[in-house]
């Protein structure tokens, strides 16, 4: 039986968006695991109280900003304003990288405050912050990787407006930007949740 005779199945676009939401729920469950472990461990003895370094607040502002530029980038993409889209996406990418760098400085600042991740002088209070923010960083890295692909495509594949028509013919590809944007907001909201969590339960 010739395989190419098979008429394809109409694919509901909801499926991909739905899968992403499921994925985000599942990723959140890992953080729920971490944060509930944090709460249980906090009730034990020897819990070190410390103030988060100021760097983490700056990084929060940066990632919120990147979410805002992402909204505009996605908007520009939908309205076929490709130059604007490229610029905004590049800006979002740089802000995302900036967040990662600031988090790294945040860890350094914690080290300077003598809050260590492991070793003899470490306290779980600090270890949790390192590990949970590091785990968040992995999710951010995933977002940055996908954004890098989107940037590559926007500069080298869809560079002239004529090819951008592909987006409308193959809506499956058009939705990718939308999914990326949703995921990026998720990474942003996740960090805000974690920051508030750390502040409430320090």
């Amino acid at each position: 039986m010739a395989v190419d005779m098979i008429p394809p199945q109409p694919k509901k676009f909801f499926a991909q968006r739905f899968a992403l939401w499921l994925g985000m729920i599942s990723m959140f469950m890992a953080f729920a695991g971490f944060t509930s472990a944090y709460i249980v461990r906090r009730a034990q003895s020897d819990w070190l109280e410390f103030n988060l370094p100021i760097t983490f607040y700056i990084s929060t502002a940066v990632i919120v900003l990147s979410s805002i530029t992402m909204i505009y980038a996605n908007h520009a993409y939908k309205h076929d304003q490709y130059d604007r889209f490229r610029n905004l996406l590049t800006l979002t990418f740089i802000l995302g990288l900036g967040f990662a760098v600031l988090q790294y400085f945040g860890w350094q600042a914690m080290k300077d405050m003598k809050v260590f991740m492991g070793g003899e002088d470490a306290n779980p209070a600090g270890s949790f912050v390192y590990i949970i923010s590091g785990w968040h960083m992995l999710h951010l890295a995933g977002g940055l990787f996908l954004m890098a692909i989107a940037l590559y495509r926007s500069f080298f594949v869809f560079k002239d407006p004529a090819t951008s028509i592909v987006k409308n013919i193959e809506p499956n590809k058009g939705i990718r930007m939308d999914l990326l944007s949703t995921y990026w907001h998720f990474v942003d909201v996740l960090w805000i949740y974690l920051l508030i969590f750390f502040l409430i339960n320090k």
Partner: protein
């Protein structure tokens, strides 16, 4: 979400869907058999990998059963096979614990999660719902290869100089968190944690796909109320996996840091074997148990629910009767899913838990008996006055019901906190969970393989071998795990390397010998199945009719030779539920038959002759 409507408008363009693989005329060996994105091929990959792992884990059980039955005898062949692990022909204590740990890990995760759910969710969800493939075939492929990688890492750990992990499949700290605690707690546990992390990624990728496919890719007319119970079971299984596995991942990450980076999540200032006080402060090993069992308990439903779905489907098909209480079956799966998340601490009654908290967990645990009993009664009433066809698949389904009842009843004892104080960590527990989730889930898997083998390979498995396989396995299972209840009530503890050192446990020597002989017979009987399976792939009798079991569900309307895309023409439409057997004078009524067109279906008139006809064409 604001663009949702825009995308719906685009659905007209589906012809341009980017299914590049649909347009290839011929696939290379690599894309067809190795990096396949076809759900049916991925299902076979999961099944065969699962079979290989089951053989390894089964042989492990033979080895440690030999040790338990004959602790004083030497078996020189063991030394030849395992070298330093079995010096003088006797299994060493370290090796024993590695075998037990790996037996549990492999069977729970690789065989009964990936091998069962991975195989049948992949095979049946698209076929029974009328979908060309999964929502994301690519992610589906990734799911298998993460599973493969995870197994590869686990396999590597067998060959470490210090051996594989040996602290039990539950990986409790501090035993597993302190490298000096045991040989197997060295690199073996790191490999274990990495392997399980990869496995979790595989489960999540698979589960995402199963859920999105069920929600989004059903064919026209396939409402939720018309879905086969198999699909319902796979659907809820995937939901449980998606919510519980990430928590184990978090626990595993914390454990990795405790082991390698000097953090104190689960470790406290305990005194080492060398007499030194550990530098850790105030860690809590019970915390790990909470995180672990938050996955660990739902995990047993991840294992048993797919088997329940398969069994419901096969019982109804082979009783030629509608499943009794379809909605009750669906709601009972839902109830098990929800309550299953609220009972994890019944594994921890002896951890010093507040007794009133224990009572809460006891109540929720006993509550699970209600939906479970609903399912059992519905299976029995489905059989009642049915025109039962005893195919090998049906026998295994019946065996499942038997095992589920016997194993489920002991669950009521263990779930009650004051009885658990006595029975905890004895062979009673081993007997309970092996029967209710181990062997029972295996029976579900076997039922599924015998039933859907023609769908996978367009050939039949040998029926006679199937019968022999069933009876040996069924009797063997009770022979092995039946006496263990007695051992457990007598106070014989789990996880002991040998029992002859104690007066009270050495009096059970003969029982242990009987169990071991039963285990060896049962394990080697499985090679009948394996021979039958692989022989039938190439030499089984060819399938000539599309619907050999005269089943209603959609998978039997697909072409005999499996093709990418499942249906050569249009996707069938669904007009009725999946279990309309023996209604209004029709023996069966495929889901694709429109209401009012019933007479167009060729039916076998005399229902009793159908069994004979069926047997005849198999011979």
């Amino acid at each position: 979400m604001q663009t949702h409507t825009e995308h719906e408008v685009h659905t007209d363009h589906h012809v341009h869907d980017d299914h590049h693989h649909d347009h290839h005329h011929e696939e290379s060996f690599i894309t067809k058999y190795v990096f396949s994105q076809d759900h049916k091929m991925i299902a076979k990959q999961f099944l065969i990998t699962g079979i290989i792992w089951a053989v390894i884990a089964g042989l492990m059980s033979v080895l440690f059963r030999i040790q338990l039955a004959y602790p004083d005898q030497t078996f020189p062949f063991l030394e030849r096979l395992f070298g330093k692990w079995a010096e003088g022909g006797q299994i060493s204590a370290d090796f024993y614990y590695q075998l037990v740990t790996m037996h549990g890990t492999i069977l729970v995760f690789f065989v009964l999660t990936a091998g069962l759910s991975g195989t049948f969710s992949n095979l049946l969800i698209p076929l029974q719902l009328g979908a060309r493939d999964m929502a994301s075939p690519f992610m589906n492929m990734l799911s298998y290869w993460f599973f493969f990688l995870s197994g590869f890492v686990m396999l590597l750990s067998f060959f470490l100089p210090t051996g594989a992990a040996s602290g039990g499949w539950t990986a409790y700290p501090p035993l597993n968190a302190l490298p000096w605690a045991a040989k197997g707690s060295q690199a073996g546990v790191d490999y274990w944690l990495i392997s399980i992390s990869l496995f979790i990624i595989s489960v999540l990728l698979g589960g995402l796909n199963y859920i999105s496919t069920v929600i989004n890719m059903r064919t026209k007319g396939m409402s939720f109320k018309r879905m086969p119970l198999t699909v319902w079971a796979f659907f809820f299984t995937a939901i449980i996996g998606l919510l519980s596995f990430p928590v184990l991942l978090a626990a595993g990450v914390l454990m990795l840091f405790d082991r390698n980076f000097g953090t104190s999540f689960f470790l406290s200032d305990i005194i080492s074997s060398a007499g030194e006080v550990m530098p850790n402060v105030g860690g809590n090993p019970i915390l790990f148990q909470h995180l672990f069992w938050f996955l660990g308990h739902p995990e047993v439903y991840i294992i048993i629910l797919p088997a329940m779905g398969i069994v419901s489907h096969i019982l109804s098909t082979n009783s030629r009767k509608p499943i009794f209480g379809y909605s009750a079956m669906v709601y009972s799966i839902l109830a098990i899913t929800i309550i299953g998340f609220l009972v994890w601490a019944h594994h921890m009654f002896v951890t010093g838990m507040n007794p009133s908290l224990g009572v809460v967990f006891t109540i929720f645990t006993l509550l699970i008996a209600v939906p479970s009993a609903i399912k059992v009664f519905n299976w029995l009433t489905t059989l009642w006055k049915g025109n039962i066809r005893l195919t090998p698949a049906m026998l295994f389904a019946l065996g499942f019901v038997s095992l589920f009842i016997s194993g489920g009843l002991t669950g009521i004892y263990l779930g009650t906190n004051f009885l658990d104080l006595h029975l905890h960590d004895t062979y009673f527990v081993v007997a309970h969970f092996h029967i209710v989730m181990g062997v029972a889930a295996f029976f579900g898997t076997f039922a599924g393989v015998y039933h859907w083998f023609p769908k996978m390979y367009s050939r039949y498995m040998n029926r006679t071998l199937g019968y022999i396989h069933f009876f040996i396995t069924f009797l063997g299972a009770y022979l092995v795990f039946g006496p263990m209840h007695w051992l457990g009530l007598g106070g014989v503890p789990r996880r002991y390397y040998r029992f002859d050192a104690f007066e009270f446990s050495s009096q059970f020597d003969d029982v242990n010998k009987i169990i071991t002989i039963g285990a060896i017979i049962s394990v080697f009987a499985q090679f009948l199945f394996i021979y039958n399976f692989f022989n039938s792939i190439w030499r089984g009798r060819k399938m000539k009719e599309k619907n050999p079991w005269r089943s209603n569900s959609l998978e039997w309307t697909a072409s005999i030779e499996p093709i990418h895309g499942n249906w050569p023409g249009a996707i069938p439409e669904v007009h009725r539920g999946a279990y309309e057997y023996g209604k209004d004078g029709y023996e069966y009524m495929p889901q694709t038959v429109p209401v009012g067109q019933e007479h167009t279906v060729e039916q076998v008139t005399a229902t009793s002759s159908s069994t004979n006809a069926e047997v005849k064409h198999v011979e």
